[in-house]
């Protein structure tokens, strides 16, 4: 339902953009980049959602793992695809380590995973702030210029791997640029998740999500399966932030990941996911609609209204959609 409203809104924005004579080709190019840039973070929510643990509002935990991976790669001045790959690998391993603790907490608070994950995310950030300011990295470009210790809140990736994926195998037709490499990475990961849910393991996750008493009565180890879904979610989130950062061009540390879960959750809900089940299709539709609206609303609002209004509109959409989805899922009987 939600995606129809949002799609209508998007059509309206596109019409307005035409009316204001904006460069539609540039906007289209950007929409693909924005889509793939945020797409993996949205995909990362799916395994935990399907395991009945709700939306992973603790996304900052996975994101932090990816950030640490990237910091290590930058510290050793790794560039290009090698840098990205090493970042993603390291981030993935760190995410696995985090998920052991994170997953066990969520299993212990069964039934209230969403609120618990929100607060784990919130309390994890200040903890990591200590880490960022104390970690003994040596690359001068990462450190505070004065004093020379502690990481900067914003590390430019320009000399390392900014837009490496965006430009990989990109196809140019006139002004239109299709970021093929970026979309390919997204496509491969989405495809792997899609296939995973067709395997016995994937099916066991769905069964646990739908009815864990049934899963138990079928001899499945419910805790192990939930932990598996947390591991997959966090690893994808860690890889997701690496892809995000290379597009964005900066490594944002400290409080930056704090609110990143909300746009991702919102996008998945717009795509049509329920509070209990989400698919790749939901993620793809939702991410594209959501990011395109973000993309269009800024220049249009700047043109037509106050410059600051776009930020307000964004917040209303992001948080309003989550509220809307909660209302719908409660009405529709979450346990029906």
């Amino acid at each position: 339902m939600a995606y129809k409203i949002i799609a209508g809104f998007l059509v309206l924005l596109v019409a307005l953009a035409f009316h204001l004579h904006m460069d539609m080709i540039v906007l289209l190019n950007l929409s693909f980049i924005k889509f793939a840039m945020n797409g993996l973070l949205v995909l990362s929510l799916i395994p935990m959602l399907n395991a009945g643990m709700g939306m992973n509002f603790g996304l900052p935990v996975g994101i932090t793992a990816g950030l640490i991976g990237m910091c290590i790669a930058v510290n050793f001045k790794l560039t290009g695809l090698v840098g990205l790959l090493i970042s993603a690998l390291l981030g993935g391993f760190i995410a696995l380590a985090f998920s052991e603790v994170y997953g066990r907490i969520l299993i212990a608070v069964k039934g209230r995973e969403e609120i618990a994950s929100t607060f784990i995310g919130f309390s994890f950030i200040p903890l990591m702030n200590f880490f960022w300011s104390l970690v003994p990295f040596s690359n001068r470009q990462m450190l505070y210029p004065i004093g020379g210790s502690g990481l900067r809140p914003r590390i430019g990736l320009n000399p390392y791997f900014t837009s490496t994926l965006d430009q990989l195998w990109s196809i140019k037709v006139g002004n239109f640029v299709l970021p093929f490499g970026l979309l390919l990475v997204y496509g491969i990961i989405a495809g792997l998740i899609h296939y995973f849910f067709k395997t016995t393991s994937g099916k066991s996750i769905c069964a646990v999500g739908e009815n864990d008493a049934f899963a138990k009565a079928s001899g499945l180890n419910v805790k192990k399966i939930k932990l598996l879904s947390v591991r997959i979610s966090l690893v994808i989130a860690a890889v997701g932030i690496v892809v995000y950062a290379q597009s964005f061009g900066f490594l944002e540390l400290y409080d930056a990941p704090l609110m990143m879960a909300f746009p991702a959750v919102s996008a998945l809900l717009i795509g049509g996911a329920s509070a209990k089940k989400g698919t790749i299709i939901h993620a793809i539709i939702g991410t594209y609609l959501f990011q395109s609206i973000y993309l269009l609303s800024v220049p249009i609002a700047n043109e037509l209204l106050l410059p600051e209004i776009s930020e307000i509109v964004r917040n209303i959409i992001t948080n309003g959609i989550i509220l809307y989805a909660l209302l719908i899922s409660e009405k529709g009987g979450r346990y029906a």
Binding site: F196, A207, E210, F214, G219
Partner: protein
């Protein structure tokens, strides 16, 4: 004093098409105790709900007939406010606030206030006179023969004391005329039961009448002035105490139906396949204790009891839904500490009675439900993809298996892709059964296989179970409250009472034997 307190004339009740109570008539004089006896589904609880004005009755279309309390006709539409007629009820599950004191619990909603000053202005905001409350509560407890400080928290009290507190609370209501007790002694040990009986006898001397529902026939015989026996919603007998013996009462309760047993056969060999030793399951409301039993290879064993007496606990304990103690051996192996998954792979499977919450993935298709467990545990119905990197669902082989079971069990559906949620109860049960059979267990535990399904489906389910037992030599353990079905199918029937084995009977045993086994009361060792 010659007017009856409670009078029922032609009281009946339908739940939809199903008639659960037919033409109940009795009257209860002041100061008398009436015992109501009946097996599962005899209509005891429905009768209580009608008299006490439970919401359920009104929501399902009310009842027929006339109930008079103290000569005054009861309003058919009144809602849960039987207290206004002077009726108090003590439910099987306690309705006490654990974090309040005994006195506060007893006086709740009926508190004394410090001063009546400005009563009409302040209304609900007057100060409570705790001292007076305490005193009165203490009095009520003492009148029941219980010496206990009423200022203590209910939380710390034993179950038997809680029972007394409940009764004291009902007594505290002004003009209490009738007290309904639903299985009050089920949670008490012998000594406390005696105490309760003495207290009740004292109570009726004050002119209060008591409706006493119990499965313990001895107690009913010892306490009640009159006995009403219900069976299948009908009155089978109304007796003056002393005009009937315990044995006769047991027969009345179960009914002497002649039933042909299909499985009148002697097992060729009595090879023990499974052995329980002091098995104990902490299933709240259905606990099982000291369960020691040997199950022979190839037999059909029935487990039955009144509801809440443990027949469902064996299965739930095996799955591991509730903590268990004791030892289990199967096929010569000690399987006590194995996970349920390991138990399944060793040849055990349990089919729970709760289809919707435990037995099925309601949002998934028939096919997926049937193959799920075999696929998960044995990697059946899947084939390798990407050179063995991933194992995916193999639709062809799964479809074949699903078709086979759909045909074998007569599952009526549009296609195998139909979502299980949309099936009838009978077909849902068949899907559950198909999944169990697809695992080819050596020993299958089934709980309430025919609950809530139509007659045709019932026969099919039972027939398939027996077929698997005879052809595939699958040992079958059926826990059911349907005694007639068990008598038809089983080689032996274990009867539980209060969570313990009270008898192991042959299906040909008489109604008297079953009746007595069901109602064997009181653990003499005192809980």
């Amino acid at each position: 004093m010659n007017k009856p307190i409670l009078e029922l004339n032609h009281v009946g009740k339908h739940y939809g098409q199903h008639e659960v109570l037919k033409d109940i008539n009795f009257s209860l004089m002041p100061g008398k105790i009436l015992g109501i006896i009946g097996a599962n589904g005899s209509g005891k609880s429905t009768l209580m709900n009608i008299i006490f004005g439970h919401q359920v009755i009104k929501n399902t279309g009310g009842y027929t007939g006339v109930i008079k309390v103290d000569g005054q006709r009861m309003d058919v539409n009144y809602e849960g406010n039987a207290t206004q007629y002077g009726i108090g009820m003590v439910h099987q599950e306690f309705a006490l606030f654990p974090k309040l004191t005994i006195a506060e619990n007893i006086k709740l909603g009926n508190e004394n206030i410090v001063k009546d000053f400005a009563k009409h202005v302040l209304k609900d905001y007057l100060l409570i006179d705790h001292k007076k409350d305490q005193m009165e509560a203490q009095e009520k407890l003492e009148s029941l023969g219980l010496e206990i400080d009423a200022s203590m928290l209910v939380d710390h009290m034993s179950i038997s004391v809680k029972q007394f507190i409940e009764i004291a609370r009902e007594l505290d209501r002004n003009h209490l005329k009738l007290l309904i007790l639903d299985e009050p002694t089920a949670v008490l040990n012998d000594k406390d039961s005696q105490l309760l009986i003495t207290a009740l006898k004292k109570l009726v001397k004050k002119g209060i009448s008591v409706l006493f529902i119990s499965h313990r026939l001895e107690e009913v015989m010892c306490l009640c002035d009159h006995l009403l026996v219900l069976r299948d919603g009908e009155t089978v007998g109304y007796y003056e105490n002393g005009s009937i013996t315990l044995d006769q009462l047991a027969i009345e309760m179960i009914g002497e139906k002649v039933q042909k047993t299909v499985s009148n056969r002697a097992l060729d060999t009595k090879e023990v396949q499974m052995r329980f030793e002091n098995f104990q399951v902490d299933y709240p409301g259905e606990a099982l204790e000291n369960f020691s039993l040997e199950i022979y290879k190839g037999e059909v064993l029935g487990i039955t009891s009144l509801s809440g007496h443990g027949k469902l606990a064996v299965a739930k304990g095996l799955i591991g839904f509730y903590p268990t103690r004791g030892a289990i051996h199967m096929n010569g192996l000690d399987i006590t500490n194995l996970t349920y998954q390991e138990k399944i792979t060793k040849g055990l499977y349990v089919l729970c009675e709760d289809r919707k919450n435990v037995g099925l993935l309601l949002e998934h298709s028939i096919g997926e439900n049937i193959v799920f467990t075999a696929q998960q545990l044995y990697r059946k119905y899947s084939k390798p993809h990407f050179g063995g990197l991933m194992k995916l669902y193999d639709k062809a082989s799964a479809d074949k298996a699903v078709s086979k079971y759909c045909e074998q069990l007569d599952i009526v559906c549009r296609s195998h892709q139909q979502v299980v949620k949309t099936l009838s109860g009978g077909n849902q049960q068949k899907v559950c059964l198909a999944r169990s059979l697809s695992l080819e267990p050596d020993i299958l535990f089934v709980s309430e296989p025919t609950r809530g399904i139509d007659i045709a489906a019932k026969e099919k389910v039972l027939q398939s179970l027996i077929e698997s037992n005879r052809k595939d030599k699958m040992t079958l353990v059926i826990a059911s409250s349907e005694l007639e079905e068990l008598k038809r199918l089983c080689d032996r029937i274990v009867v539980l009472s209060e969570g313990r084995i009270s008898a192991i009977l042959s299906p040909d045993a008489s109604a008297k034997e079953f009746g007595l086994a069901f109602s064997k009361g009181g653990s003499s060792d005192g809980l």
